[in-house]
Symmetry: C2
Subunit: 196 residues, 2 copies
DNA sequence: ATAAAAACATACTAATTAGTATGTTTTTTG
DNA sequence: CAAAAAACATACTAATTAGTATGTTTTTAT
């Protein structure tokens, strides 16, 4: 990787962490260049504006990591219940990047940006839709191979499961304890077993 | 009500709407006084700082309205399943203040403020805990009167149900359609019926 | 090696921010 | 009614913001 490309990637990574912790609008460019030790000239050489950087973060950092954590574990799976539970467990307890007090990066950005920024809204929407369709397909597979009851509505289940995840991440933030994660996961298990 | 008290309340209400739509940190005092047609002198006569106003909004506006929508419908109820479903339905479809694209005011504030503002965090946490304990108590009543299976874990169910609500509010924001509300509610019904 | 382009650095700007200093006008109280 | 306090108004300030103008240095291509 060229030095310039490394500078750019470094900005994206550090800015992503700052935005994850503090929010997009309250993370200033001055703060980003201070932590990356890059000058303002370099920053605006790589990105025309703050929003261009923000979209690059979503497309080049958030999207690939979400594919890894939210999509990949569900692909090529045949037994939805165990796989979905395990994915949630891993996200809540085994992910070394995600922090209890900062919640879910995609959820945070969605809440902050979608009401007024069309570009952010569109790219976040497509991320979310991809997760939903992956989940839905997996449930359908489960229905076909008998792991899931045939009268289960796959699209509904997908929404229900995803909502729970975004919600419990917000509870973790306010309670500042993973206890609610445990409770959520236990009840998720009860719910998923009901789909058999 | 005195004229001064009316001015103060007007600031709180207008500021609450702005913050609901745009977020706390990105709603400026200048914007608040412009929409309330109150001068800066009046604003800082009533509130020592922006944060003091923010906390007043939570305590004097958000808290009472949440008690009305999230607590009262559950109190003195005996049949949890129908009551919880109806509350969610009313929140998602019959509430004239809440807007699809702006999500849940308490959820928004929680996500934005709890990582770094202790005071906001504490008051939002107590709001959330109150909702949780009300839900938990209702489930316990249902267990005693036979509407809910005895082996159901009430605290877990409360977390699970609350998470789903915060989550689906966020989905509504990004999808900009109430379709996901319908799907969520249908699956909530399936889940709740499983607690019988 | 050298010219050209890419990458980065420094110093600025105009707008916006929360908050203050210092008033004037209302309202209340004796 | 008159003094005092409460309520509100105006004009400022210092800090921070995204972004620009104008450089210098480093890399690349010939």
């Amino acid at each position: 990787m060229s030095k310039a490309a490394a500078t750019r990637l470094n900005i994206l990574h550090k800015a992503f962490e700052l935005i994850y912790a503090k929010g997009y609008q309250t993370t200033s460019i001055d703060e980003i260049i201070a932590t990356t030790k890059v000058t303002k000239g370099a920053f605006f050489y790589h990105f025309k504006s703050k929003d261009e950087m923000g979209l690059a973060i979503i497309n080049e950092i958030l999207k690939p990591t979400m594919e890894e954590s939210f999509i990949k574990p569900l692909e090529n799976a045949t037994e939805p219940i165990g796989v979905i539970y395990q994915m949630m467990y891993d996200l809540l307890f085994n992910n070394e990047f995600l922090k209890l007090e900062y919640g879910c990066p995609a959820g945070n950005l969605t809440q902050e940006m979608t009401p007024w920024n069309v570009e952010f809204s569109e790219v976040l929407s497509s991320l979310t839709r991809k997760w939903h369709s992956t989940l839905e397909k997996l449930i359908e597979i489960g229905k076909k191979n008998g792991n899931i009851r045939p009268n289960v509505n796959a699209a509904q289940v997908a929404y229900f499961v995803m909502s729970g995840y975004w919600g419990i991440r917000n509870f973790g933030k306010v309670y500042k304890s993973k206890d609610c994660y445990f409770a959520y996961l236990e009840e998720l298990k009860v719910y998923l077993d009901g789909l058999k």
